[in-house]
């Protein structure tokens, strides 16, 4: 194509560490003061970078805090840009992260990090505030196993209804994880003789709520992902 690449400039010459976009600092400052004033005691670990203002709250208070952020005329965060779950490891906690946008504070995305206990991952649903949070919450339930109280359609969304794991948790091992396999760096999917499938048969079912409370719970003595009513499901 006759393309000649120019010599690369050093990263520092391109302003390493310089903010990507330059927001008006006064605006972000005003937002920080407002948030501190309106949210008050719920707010922890306030932090800001070039275009984000973020703080941490307790998961149980999520609906109250987000209602204030949405309905307060000075804040007016009318748009839920994103809601996602983060797993900080087996011995740590979950976090549900909400990104909000307000036309009154266009210089910054507002990031609300709601902490959730890993042993009891329950959070109030925000579908009463934004209907569109429904798919976000269904995805978080499906992938992370976080339960949203008050959500009237908390089903799996990507995986099949009888699937029993939560694939985006940190302790979910990928089947083709080369480092974990006896194939030592060769893709084990290409070498079926090395497949160790016992862990799929012996893995305990991870369900929340506990499996005995669920109508589709695996029957006693049934193995390999079958549920009690698992005939040829027409779904």
């Amino acid at each position: 194509m006759g393309h000649v690449r120019r010599p690369w400039p050093a990263a520092h010459a391109l302003g390493r560490g310089r903010p990507l976009s330059a927001p008006a600092p006064a605006l972000a400052g005003a937002l920080i003061r407002l948030v501190q004033e309106r949210i008050g005691p719920d707010l922890r670990d306030l932090w800001t970078d070039e275009d984000t203002v973020e703080f941490t709250i307790d998961g149980a208070r999520a609906v109250d805090v987000l209602t204030t952020l949405r309905d307060d005329p000075d804040l007016d965060f009318f748009m839920l840009a994103d809601a996602a779950a983060v797993d900080y490891g087996v011995d740590a906690h979950f976090e549900v992260v909400y990104h909000l946008y307000s036309a009154k504070h266009p210089a910054a995305w507002l990031r609300v990090r709601a902490r959730v206990d890993r042993a009891k991952p329950v959070l109030p649903s925000i579908t009463s505030l934004w209907e569109g949070a429904m798919f976000h919450e269904r995805e978080m339930y499906d992938m992370m196993g976080i339960v949203f109280e008050g959500n009237r359609d908390l089903r799996r969304i990507y995986m099949s209804p009888d699937y029993r794991s939560f694939p985006q948790r940190r302790d979910f091992v990928l089947p083709d994880d080369a480092a974990d396999s006896p194939a030592h760096g060769v893709n084990p999917l290409e070498r079926p003789e090395t497949w160790d499938l016992t862990r799929f048969n012996t893995a305990p079912a991870i369900t929340f709520p506990p499996s005995e409370d669920r109508a589709d719970a695996p029957a006693e003595g049934v193995e390999g992902g079958e549920t009690a009513a698992d005939k040829s499901r027409p779904r």
Binding site: M1, T52, A84, D153
Partner: protein
Amino acid sequence: MTKIDPEIRIPDPIELDRLEEERLRTAAGLLPVHAEGGEYAGFDTVGIPDRPPQTEREREVYTLEEGEMLVNMGPQHPSTHGVMRLVVKVRGEIVVDVDPVLGYLHRGIEKLCENATYTTVLTYVDPMDYLSTMHNEHAPAIAFEKLYGIKAPPRAEYIRALVVELNRVFSHGLMMGFLALDIGGLTPILYSFINRDEVVDMLSAISGQRMLFNFFRVGGVNFDTNDEFLSRLGTWRSHVLDNLDMNERMITQNEIFRGRTVNMGRLSGADAISLGVTGPNLRASGVAFDVRKAHPYSIYHELEFDVITQEGGDSYARYIQRIAEIKQSIHLIDQIIDRMPHGPVQAQVPGIIRPKPGRAYGAVESPRGLYSVYAISDGGPNPYRFRMRDPSFISLQAIPKLMPGRLVADTMAVMASFDPVMGGVDK
């Protein structure tokens, strides 16, 4: 004209067939087909899950009243724009409820990205929303550059904006064709593909790939512009407005098209915000939210443009909005080419980067709306958490809201006006 006596019940031909079949089977000494042990046992509840409902909403959708039945649209159906299934509850030809069933194309891209290096992530996001590949790469590039604390050179930012707007043009152009196709007109999609191929060839000249461009890098873009790209761009620019005008005249004034889009699937601005609908679909409902203006990224704060909105909020408004945005994108492309500076297109960045622990959010305006990436670094070579918000996934929630009370055939037309791409929906 003879009057039909309401007392006389005209037998349904399907029912007559069934009765005839039962009669023949009984004569042959066979079990009735729907009996316990018959060969169609259980088939009279096709579509109803063979397990108790898990949620209130599922119970509502899958409980049938007298005269209602469930119809599956998809997963393999040309009008579902990919592999998606809509369970439609109908009463006659009227839609009572819709339940989208997703996941047929789920590849777990977020999990894959968490096991890939930052550079590789930019290739993994390509096949997500395969009609807006450049946008898919733009958002992670922004987020990773924030994490790593670098900035792309000015020329790279201009090239990014250029390819991203070209991508928007062909994506919106295809939507015009697909909408007409789902309504029953075959010709516009062929013209849309002619126009789209011109842009795709242009982008393949600059990136080396035809559909999954893999063009963005952390700290810049892969290649500078070249002669082939620029000559193709010039040729395309000389006739793109004529081509657009031709396609538009073929569709917009068509009476059938108007009859099936005007007043169809009317979404109010407040509902759209509540449902998380973004992009052209939101602006067609009268809400002036465009990430390029609301929170400018790349070089959009230097370009002159206004946020276009429509008042209608129906399928027709969403279509008109796309055409207006194509023209706006061409206007932006003109500005970008006029102002493009000289200089390098890539910062000096190693192949494997290890950003300091931190969090970054990058959002772009993709042809389908707000596409954003939330990346967390723990100091290692791959992102600790990589989250993508795909606009068509969230916009799909409008379908069950809009369709009840409408005809089954209009489900496709309204869905096409939202322009979802299942690669992005299922991730």
